[in-house]
Amino acid sequence: MVNNAIIFAVVTGISLLVSLIFDRKKTLLGLKKGVKIFIGMLPPFLNILILIGILLYLIPQEAIVKYVGPNSGALGFFIAAIIGSITLIPGIISYPIAATLISKGASYGVVAVFMTTLMLVGVVTLPLEIKYFGKKAALLRNALNFVAALMIGLVVGWLMRLW
């Protein structure tokens, strides 16, 4: 965690410097935008952290291991895929959830299924998507990506165990 944070800081610092050299005005605009997005995202992010804190207290670790752990099999994948498809959680907020699940014994494969369906399959946004792509294409896209997410989970889970 701390190592990654240092890598981030360095990469961001260099990007910022390069950006400043090329265009001071644009850089300031970018910084303003970044701060604005961060401030906008902060309340839902904090709410999720609170919710995680409560759920961690309420849900015993054994339950997480049992239902979405390495030995949960098809059931774990199924639970993750359904929850990921019907909920509309912004990607940014989903990472602390995923990290918590992993630290409590969920398998990487199940988390990959959850994250991929969360980002690619949207039951709630389906009506909007139909407006853009039409019924056939929208339904097909969601169905194909649902299957793709399950395959991603299978392969990721397998590779994470192997490596």
Partner: protein, 179 residues
Amino acid sequence: MVDATMVKKTLIKQYAWVILFLILSIGSYFAGFKPGLTIYSNFQKSFIEMLVFVPVIFILVGLFDVWVPKETIEKYIGKESGILGIFLVTFLAMLQVGPLYGAFPVAYILYKKGAGVRNIFIYLGAFSSLKIPMLGLELGYLGLKYTLVRSLVSLPLFILVGFLMEKLVGDDFKVKDAN
């Protein structure tokens, strides 16, 4: 004056749960309510974890937003663009920020500019889970190994979905502007 109170009101509304949570936590502290204290320490741990690198990511997000061209690559991802088109459409998607439904209007613009069915759906796949700022978060929260494995496994499947969509919806595919 009216503006200031409005801002205050929306702030209180946005942070209502956080405020309530803090009040209850302080209450738990004085009352010696164990569950409340455990929940607060859970929260504090993940809050510090977030502060370590999430704000940094948003500086990157802002920089991406002002620097990344949204239209210049589009002409290279038409129907006949082949492998170069797939490469460029993935690259373009990786540089974006925002949720998937924010990508639908972009898909419309791509379609208008002549992008093929395949590339539009590869774009959506790559947009959903290969955005560079998001990969940064993934790296921070879930580690390098997972991030690498998931990205490398996902991309070929997104490309496959693009090809399948092209085959299945093919010629009668249209993107409408829903706004």
